[in-house]
Structure formats: C-alpha cells, structure tokens
Symmetry: C4
C-alpha cells in the first residue's frame, strides 16, 4: 500500500530526474577538460617554446572533443526518451541512476584513453563505458514501454524506432571498438565519423532510413 502511494507521488519526479541528469552531464562535460593542463611556466622562455609545449595537447584535445560529442549524443538520447515518458517510478529512476553512474565515469575513461591513446585496453574501457550508457538507455526505454510509463501519443512504430536507434548506434560503436585489432587510431577515427553523422547529419540519416 505504501509502495503504491510512493509510485503515485514519484510520478512528478521525472522533472527532478531530468534536473539531476542535467547537473551530472554538465559537471561531467566540464570536468573532461579539467585534465587539459597548462604547460609549466619554468620551461617556457619564448612564443616558440609555448607553441611547442602546447602541440602535444592537440591529440588530447581531440579526445576531449570526442567525449564531449559522445556525452552530447547520449544527452540528446536521454532527453528524447524522457520527453516520451509521462511518469516515472522507482525502477525507472534507478535505471537512470545507474545510467548517470556511467556518465560520471566518462571523465575517467576519457582521461585513460587520452593518456594511453595507442593502448587497446584503454580503448576497450572507453567503449565499455559507452556501451553501458547505451545499454541503460535501452533498458530504460524497454521498461517504460512495458510498464506503460510512456505518453499515450507514442505509437508502436515510434517506440520501436527509438529502440532501434540506440541498437544501431551501439552496433556502430562496437564495430568501431573492434577496429582496434588493426589500430586504436582506426577505432577513434571511425567512432568520430559515426558521431559526426549523429551530430551533424541526423536529417540525412532519418531520410535514408525512411
């Protein structure tokens, strides 16, 4: 009985779940760059020195941009899902809390990959993190459909479309991760291409699927 009352009230909590999510994403996105250290003053005596000291930061910056894009894609995905969801319950909240745990691990995975860019283990750790994000989003969506948390206007076609979208994206990331048997640079290049497709080209992609 108490449980039923809990569920009734926590229906309003989609908003606070969204607020907590935005907070965690905002902190994680900004912390990514925190590992980009300014060169140590003592070794720099001219503009050329500074230029030389900043050059090794370029590949790191690339990794951070890639992670920012990844968090952006995932954020858009979570937001789209939540826009389709009318109510939340304890389980749905917990699925998203585990999702946020994976978000909060992204700065670590990113640092690891930025530091060990040519190591497969670093790339696989990063990919595992991204896969966990996709998995929790997918579980959340399936759960929302099964328990009737989604809005009434969401028809079966849209519901399947959103699920398929996650599976498709994650398959491409997995393929990218697999490319590390050739070289981790191939993996990163492929993943960045997939990301740009999602960030810049969604309408083209949407059309090609229709």
């Amino acid at each position: 009985m108490v449980r039923i009352r809990y569920e009734r009230v926590s229906g309003r909590s989609v908003e606070r779940l969204a607020a907590l999510s935005d907070g965690v994403f905002a902190v994680a996105m900004t912390l990514l760059v925190l590992d980009l250290h300014v060169p140590v003053r003592d070794a720099i005596h001219s503009e050329a020195d500074l230029c030389q000291a900043l050059t090794p930061l370029a590949p790191r910056l690339l990794i951070y941009v890639m992670s920012f894009l990844m968090l952006g894609i995932i954020w858009v995905g979570q937001q789209t899902q939540m826009n389709h969801v009318a109510n939340s319950d304890r389980h749905y909240t917990w699925i998203h809390l585990v999702f946020l745990l994976a978000v909060s691990l992204m700065p670590f995975s990113t640092s690891l990959m930025a530091e060990f860019i040519e190591y497969r283990l670093a790339l696989l750790t990063y990919w595992l993190n991204v896969a966990a994000l996709g998995l929790m989003l997918f579980i959340g969506w399936r759960y929302a459909i099964k328990t009737g948390l989604v809005r009434d206007e969401v028809d079966a076609e849209t519901a399947r479309g959103i699920g398929r979208r996650i599976v498709m994206a994650q398959s491409l990331y997995a393929l990218g991760a697999l490319l590390c048997v050739i070289s981790t640079y191939w993996s990163i290049g492929f993943i960045v291409l997939v990301q740009l497709n999602y960030a810049i080209g969604p309408s083209w992609w949407g059309r090609s699927r229709a």
Copy 2:
C-alpha cells in the same frame, strides 16, 4: 511580522531548494570518481603493464559505485519526501541545508574509505556521514509533519511509513557498520547487499512488508 511575510514567500522556495539539492547531488556524484586516477604514463610499456596498473583500481571503483548507490538512495529518499511537502519554511530549508552539507562531505568520506579500506576508523567515518544523512532526512520529515508543511492528501499511515522506512534503512546500515568488529569487508559487503535491496528490490521489499 516581517518573519511571517518571509515564511509566506519562502513557500515557493521548495523548487529552488530542490534545484540546489539536485546541483549538490550532481556535483558530489561526479566528484566521487574524480579520485580515480589514471596510471602514470612512464611506468607503462605494454598492454599487460596497463592491465596490471588498472587492477588495483578495481576495489576503489567498487567503493565509488557503492557511494554512488548510497547517494542515489538518499536522493530518491529526499525527492520522495519533498514530493509530499507542499510548502517550505526557514527551518525546513535549514534542515535540508545541513543535509546537503552531509552530502558534500560524501566524496571525502568515500575517498577516505577507498584509501583505508581495512581500517575501522575510515569505515566508521563513512557510516557517520551516512547516518547524518538519514538523521537529517528523518528530522526534516518529522518537522514537516508537525508544522503542517506536508500536502493535505498525505494520511497518517503514509507519514508513519515514510519515517519508518528511514529508521529501517539506517538500522541496517548501523548493523553493517557494527560488523566491522569482524572485518571492514564484512561491513562493506553487508551494506552493498542492503543497497541492492533498496535499489533493485523495492517492490519485493514493499510486498513483504504489506
């Protein structure tokens, strides 16, 4: 007279108190992982080296996951309480500010326990922090009921149920902390089991209590 006016206006502030809470939780949750340091580059020369350097991070990661779950449980508890509360006043706001102080201390307690996992003092510090969270939540709920801040639709049964839920959870955590007379690992294992029960099994738990 001024005080009465203050109270009338601060009634709208439940939303800002919720917003501040979500912010503090979001930062605390993300900072937890900030102490997970990437291995130093110089000592790593192969995938095997990296694997070996990452292995000691595993128990630390476990502690962070445990703290994330704990903050998640506490956040769900605070949110449920606030959903039952129609208005706030100065005292209720201050009870929650002290609650947030305890939230902001969690990254420290967690780091301490992660660093000194087999030390009872570290575990007891962590437990004290968790107990402070539970205590402030409980005080907040009792205060809200006594001063009529709760919504009209909350009946005495629900009110008692929510209070009992906090007492029950905190008793289990205290029992877990007590297990450190055997070993801190027993304490951690027990607390994680209690957490999983709250995160994964609330419906089972709800049913068994009915």
Copy 3:
C-alpha cells in the same frame, strides 16, 4: 528600441538567473570540501596512526562547515530577494552576476583561512568576500525597489525590513572581523555564533525584533 525589446524578454529570465545561481552555489558548496585531503597512505600503519592523521583536519572541517553555513545563509537571502522580484532586467542580472563572482571566490577565501587560521590577512580576505556578497545583495534589492522590479504585494515596510536585515547581518560580520585585533579565533567564534543565530534561531530573532 532594441533595448526596450531586450528588457521585455529578459523579464522571463529571473528563472534562468535563479537556475544559474543554484548551480554556482551547488558547485561552490561542494568544492569547499574538496580541499579536505585524505591522509597519505604510506605514513599510516595502524588505526591510531590514522586517528592521529585525521585530527589536524578537525579545525579545517570547522572552517568548511562555517563557510557552508555562510553560503547557506547567503543563498537563503538571495532566494528570499528573488521571490519578491517579479521581473529582471539587464542591470539586475549583472548585479547578481557580480554577486555570483563573489560566491565563486568563497572556496578560495575559505581555503586561505583554513590554511592560515591565525593570520589576520586571511581572515580579512574572507570577511571582504562575505562583505562583497552582502553588498551586492543589498545593491540588488535597492535597485529592484527603485526600478519597480519587485512584486506589487511587497509594501514599503517589508522592503525596508529586507534591506535592514542585510545591513544588520553585515554589521555583525564586520564586528566579528574587527575582533581579530584580539585574535582571529575570537573573530571566527563570533561569526559562527552569528551564523547559528541566523540558521537555527530566525524565529527567535524575528520575535525579538518585533
């Protein structure tokens, strides 16, 4: 003309100003504790060692609690002010942005005082920061009254009361800062007492003023 349109639209921005404020407060409050470092593992060999290593953290913790309370008091003050304000404009927004600049400096002032607890310069820096917070809140309130941004239901008595409240609190903090001619510990003790009065005893204080 463009300016008039700007002002019309920025009227809705009180909410986003509040959201930004809650974010800055949440980050500042949580960062306070970030300077509380866990003892280094190597030097610790027993529970007694750990206890001894944690003891010097106690005064630091006190300073952090004090700063958290201070940010809490200031946050409640800003929130109360904003609840009385119906619209914002560019100038009001900028007054609060400078206010937030002072909020973001609090972790630095706090660290400085925690590190140099018996130095007058550290205490005065801290006090200057707190005084800047009070000053900007006061300027914001005066500006809101003069330009008619406050809600219609706010009468002259309430308006003056809120202003006086800031002046009163800041006078007490200034008095506390002045006590550093005797000792910085006197200052800190006095300020903590004033804070506890605001946090715990507002109804008593309100009554004694009526």
Copy 4:
C-alpha cells in the same frame, strides 16, 4: 517519419537545453577560480610574508574576473537568444552543444592566459575561444530565424538587431586581440573596457545606437 516525431517532441527540450547550459556555465564559472592556489604554508612566517605571497595572485585574479565577466556576457547573450526562441530541433540543440563545448574550454584558456600573460599565443588562444562562443551564438541565431524556430512576436528589426549585436561585440574583441601586436596588456585592457561597457553600460550603448 520518425524524424518528424523526434522534432515534435524535442520542441519541449528548450528548457532542458537551458538547464544543461546553466549547469555548464555554473561549473565553468566556479572552476575558473579553482586555479587560484593558496600559498604553501611552510614559506609563510608572518603577516608580511602572507601579504607578499598573495600579491602575485592579483594579476591572476584580474584575469579570472575578466573571464567571469566574459562568461557572464555570453550567458546573457545565450539567454536572450533562447528567450526569443519558441522551439528547438536537433540542429539547434547541436549548435548549442558545440557552443557549450567552447564554454567548457574557457577555464583552460583562462588558466593559459593567466600563466602566460605576456605571451601572444596565450592571448590568441583565449581570443579564439571567445570567437568560437560568438560564432556559435551567431550561427544558432541565424539558424533559428531561417527555420522559423523564433517566436512569432520577433520582427525582422529585432532579429537583425540581435545578430548585429553579436557581430559588433566580436569585432571589438577581435580588435582587442589585434592590439597584441603592441602588447598583450593593451589587448587585455581594451577587452576589459569593452566588457565593462557591456556589463555596466548597456542602456547607454542601446541609446547611442538608436
């Protein structure tokens, strides 16, 4: 078809985009100051020592204040733009995500300039960051107008005015950056003057343009 549904739902997401933006700005603004390190205890033996140790922080503090003002100006700009926008879509969201990426890089650019205040490369990096912020804001505004995302009440005159405002400000920052051929201090001085004009004197500026 799925794409059309996506767009319909993401119309509600302006609010979450605003929430994420406020979060990123709040973290970036507070992190700016995190690089302001408290002097090391061991070297300080008197008030005079502490004073001497704090003096070199003054120019750094100036840079942080300047960056805070810059983020404030940009935040006000983004907020004004979003207040004019009724709906969002995927592309608009992505333009603002790239904008937020530039925001999250500001603490790095600021640290770099604070550390290498007399180096042109540091100043140009900082300016590039600011220029990216302005560019993304401008692209976002143009896109919103072209695709009809702006509110109905926004007429062509206002639309052009907002765009021109960004171009004007960015031209002044570019001019400031150019002044580094003389000295980076000239650049900083000029940029601070432009900022103060925007922060303190918008009504004067608005009038002079009318």
